[in-house]
């Protein structure tokens, strides 16, 4: 494999891993702080992609900035959606057993999938990236790399950095870290735990929706696209450890590399390699690489 | 090793990352003795008990049971070899009767997993051991009550009974008096004092009155190390112990929940 091909695959792996990180970080925070297992998380990713598709004609009509405004609208809508969903549905899950949470959120997946089918049909759609991001960049003479993919990686890194800053530098972030290790104590300190839960949940939803929106031009929009992302997010959370954002990042990149290079060297069983990785890590560290408290 | 020393820890240490929870602690549990372990919060008492019972592996040092090196034995195996353990937070089967709780615990010595024909409740050996344990714990009148409906003090008695159901030679009791009101404490203390007949008993407790009343030997731990180990009288007069407890602050020694 020559250097240019290797570089392209590395870039692909990083881009894939970072995108997965956006989805998985929301999942691991919701697990770690709210203590609920949310199977419908992949559906938020799907909603993001379909939202990008729905807003695309509008964004194209408003050139130069339309794309970013569409992203902005998507984020605002997803936060609102997350807020309402937490208040109307998720808050009933808090004291229930894992099995009940699993099944109720499974029911939510079915509801969201069918709503999508009713509102947006079952066809596969493409979403065009904005014109100024649609080109390619030359790499090492022979290969080229899609600018949009570089943009995706860049955006994901920016979001990861922003997430890191929020969690380590702000008071909300402090409450989040405290809540991850000791929920009752946070409540006893007078922090409104319900509000914190709502913020964390809405944030997790927004991350997944955002990931779906920016992924749409690269991966196209199709029914069931949330399923694979959900399961890979679970693998990431298991490998990285529940509640650990650092673990989610490490595991996402690991999964990205294993999957990408797996497809290059062993395409027939590429889909399996991630699970083999998970099995190997489970044998070594059953509680994940960076387990919190 | 004399025949009556049943369980020993020799220079046992346990580290969690950068924190040394237990630092070269040694202790010997002798048949017929109640050996209390006391210390301030975070002293390493619970960690030491967990290393003795096998729930946490020692980072270094050795544990011997009946003269055999059990340092690498997992907890169930040590339990079958004669160690019984009670917990600070009650670990009973809430939905079963008191009798069934003890019978199931006793079943550990008569497991017969492949015998599908015999009803578990009819297993004579586990029934007999359960009856004996319940009697010694003083719960005979409550035998058919559902465990979840017992009072807190009775639940703690059941916790002890379940330990006894496996006919152990060594008992590790982690704060058996936790949360018990004064009237039930007397009954509990009588039970605890009676447990040492034929057995070695380790008692982790914060209630100093209780400790000085029933302990035959007291080990004091501070910050993971053993600073003293002697009869109650000697401990009372020990300067290092007084400094550790009374030291700079004058906090009265009351029964506080432990994070050790």
């Amino acid at each position: 494999m020559d250097l240019a091909v290797f570089l392209v695959q590395c870039l692909n792996a990083i881009q894939y891993g970072l995108l997965l990180f956006l989805v998985a970080s929301g999942l691991t925070l919701i697990f770690g702080i709210l203590g609920i297992i949310n199977l419908a998380h992949g559906s938020f990713y799907m909603i993001g992609a379909y939202l990008a598709y729905a807003l695309a004609p509008w964004a194209a009509a408003n050139v130069g900035g339309g794309f970013f405004v569409a992203l902005g609208i998507g984020i605002v809508l997803s936060i609102a959606f997350g807020y309402v969903l937490e208040w109307a549905f998720v808050s009933y899950l808090y004291e229930r057993e894992h099995l009940q949470q699993v099944l109720m959120t499974y029911g939510l997946i079915l509801v969201l999938e069918e709503l999508r089918s009713i509102l947006a049909g079952d066809d596969v759609h493409g979403v065009a990236p904005p014109a100024w991001l649609a080109g390619t960049v030359p790499l090492g003479g022979v290969m080229t790399y899609a600018v949009y993919r570089l943009f995706m990686s860049g955006v994901c890194m920016a979001v990861a950095l922003a997430l890191y800053l929020v969690i380590t530098r702000t008071r909300v972030g402090m409450a989040i870290r405290a809540g991850a290790s000791n929920r009752e104590m946070v409540q006893a300190l007078g922090i409104d735990i319900r509000l914190l839960y709502r913020i964390v949940f809405a944030g997790g939803v927004a991350l997944a929706v955002f990931a779906g929106m920016i992924a749409a031009p690269a991966s196209s929009v199709y029914p069931g696209m949330g399923n694979q992302v959900l399961i890979l997010s679970f693998v990431v959370v298991v490998i990285g450890g529940i509640g650990s954002v650092r673990g989610a990042l490490t595991a996402s990149l690991l999964v990205g590399f294993v999957d990408t290079f797996g497809k290059v060297f062993m395409p027939q069983i590429a889909g399996l390699l991630v699970y083999v990785l998970m099995a190997a890590i489970l044998l070594w560290r059953p509680e994940g690489l960076f387990r919190t408290a | 090793m004399p025949d009556d020393t049943l369980l020993t820890a020799s220079d046992v240490s346990r580290r969690f990352g950068g924190l040394t929870a237990v630092d070269r602690a040694s202790i010997a549990l002798v048949r017929g003795e109640v050996h209390a372990v006391i210390g301030t919060n975070g002293a390493g008492k619970s960690t030491l008990v967990n290393v003795l019972s096998g729930e946490i592996a020692a980072s270094s040092g050795r544990v011997h049971l009946h003269g055999r090196d059990v340092t690498h034995w997992p907890q169930p195996r040590r339990s079958r070899a004669g160690i019984g353990r009670s917990y600070q937070r009650t670990t009973i089967f809430r939905n079963a009767t008191v009798f069934e709780n003890c019978r199931l615990a006793a079943q550990a010595h008569f497991q017969h997993p492949l015998d599908l024909w015999t009803r578990a409740q009819r297993c004579p050996q586990s029934r007999e051991q359960a009856e004996q344990a319940i009697e010694q714990a003083g719960l005979t009148a409550q035998a058919q009550r559902v465990a979840g409906t017992l009072s807190h003090g009775q639940k703690r008695q059941l916790e002890i009974a379940m330990c006894l159901a496996t006919a152990p030679t060594v008992l590790l009791l982690d704060e058996p008096l936790a949360g018990i009101g004064p009237d039930e404490t007397e009954r509990m203390l009588a039970l605890l004092a009676g447990l040492k007949r034929g057995r070695a008993v380790l008692l982790v407790e914060h209630d100093m009155d209780a400790v000085f009343r029933i302990a035959d030997r007291i080990t004091v731990m501070v910050n993971g190390t053993v600073i003293a180990s002697a009869e109650p009288g000697a401990i009372r007069g020990n300067a290092a112990v007084q400094a550790a407890y009374l030291g700079d602050s004058c906090e009265p020694m009351t029964a506080l929940p432990a994070n050790a």
Binding site: I37, H98, Q100, V238, I269 | P76, S79, R119, Q121, T166
Partner: protein, 339 residues
């Protein structure tokens, strides 16, 4: 006016406790003679689902292990049935069923050995991930027809020499063989439940820490339960392959694992009647929601009312249908008056 009390000898009293079960068995046995072909096929599908659900009950209700990947063993057995079935007109049941069950059991043992290193939420996620892995094995590789699936060459039969004892190619025979398997699995789980092995599993579910402190090595117990549950799911998978004569990767999809978990909670976890009842309720719900007679053109979006029904059932009836009579009785009890 009080009715006179009739003295019933205790032995008969114990037997009378089983009358609902016996009645159900009689109804199921007679059904093919009174129902139409479509309904008989539906009941057959339901009985297979009931066997599948019972196998999961051993894990969830019996040991407290919530597995979201149980469809893996159902699917592995179904595929093994097709792959191992000799390409003759009358493959032998005796040479087919034992290896199929053995394969399902081995797969469960290997996957269980890994999954059981985790607990709680991790365990649920890990079982889901491994089930997805087996889905990919069958979907992406050409091992077994890929996403197209595979056809069973001919339905197996049990024969001694020239005499055919059981021909599963005949619908009636398959129906009664399935009913027989349901009875055997039910009875086996009932035996296990009240034996020392089952009580140990129940103890592990109730308080694993206390079990370990008492001297039970809990990992082997859990692994044994996981393996047995996998083998019993294999029975259901085998019957499914024989009934449809066809397998495809969708039977391993995590939606199948979700459906069987749902069946359990619908019926009621912690009893053996629950999974069987739940299977009938689940199939009924699906049929109603998919029925164009009831919903017209909207019937193709049947997953929407199903999803809402799932949420409602879990929220309002977390103990399942089995617990309804007790709840109803509590509602009807007179409220005590003060003074």
């Amino acid at each position: 006016m009080k009715l006179p009390r009739i003295a019933i000898p205790p032995a008969i009293g114990r037997l009378l406790k089983f009358w609902p079960l016996a009645a159900a068995l009689v109804v199921l046995a007679l059904f093919p003679h009174i129902g139409g072909g479509f309904y008989v096929d539906l009941v057959l599908t339901t009985m297979i689902l009931a066997i599948f659900a019972l196998s999961l009950e051993l894990l969830v209700g019996g040991t407290g292990l919530v597995s979201f990947g149980h469809a893996a063993f159902f699917g592995i057995a179904a595929y093994a049935t097709v792959l191992l079935s000799a390409k003759t007109d009358a493959p032998s049941l005796a040479w087919l069923l034992p290896p199929v069950l053995a394969i399902a059991a081995i797969a469960a043992c290997v996957i269980g050995a890994l999954c059981l290193r985790t607990r709680g939420i991790y365990f649920i996620m890990v079982t889901l991930a491994f089930a997805q892995m087996t889905y990919f094995v069958f979907h992406d590789t050409s091992l077994a027809g890929g996403s197209d699936g595979l056809y069973l060459y001919a339905k197996p039969r049990l024969a001694i020499g020239d005499v055919t004892l059981l021909d599963l190619g005949r619908p009636m025979t398959l129906y009664y063989a399935t009913l027989g398997c349901l009875v055997v699995v039910y009875a086996l789980l009932a035996l296990i439940g009240r034996a020392r092995f089952g009580q140990a599993l129940a103890g592990i579910k109730s308080n694993e820490q206390r079990m370990r402190a008492s001297g039970f090595s809990t990992y082997p117990y859990k692994l044994a339960a996981f393996t047995l549950a996998g083998a019993l799911a294999g029975v259901a998978g085998f019957l499914h392959a024989v009934k449809d004569g066809f397998v495809n990767p969708e039977i391993l999809a995590w939606h199948q694992s979700g459906a069987v978990l749902l069946t359990l909670i619908l019926g009621g976890i912690g009893t053996l009647r629950g999974p069987v009842l739940g299977a009938f309720v689940f199939v009924l719900l699906k049929e109603v929601f998919q029925s164009e007679a009831v919903f017209g053109a909207f019937a193709r979006h049947w997953q929407l009312p199903l999803g809402l029904a799932i949420i409602a059932c879990v929220a309002l009836m977390p103990n399942g249908v089995v617990a309804l009579p007790a709840r109803f009785r509590r509602l009807r009890m007179p409220i005590p008056h003060a003074g």
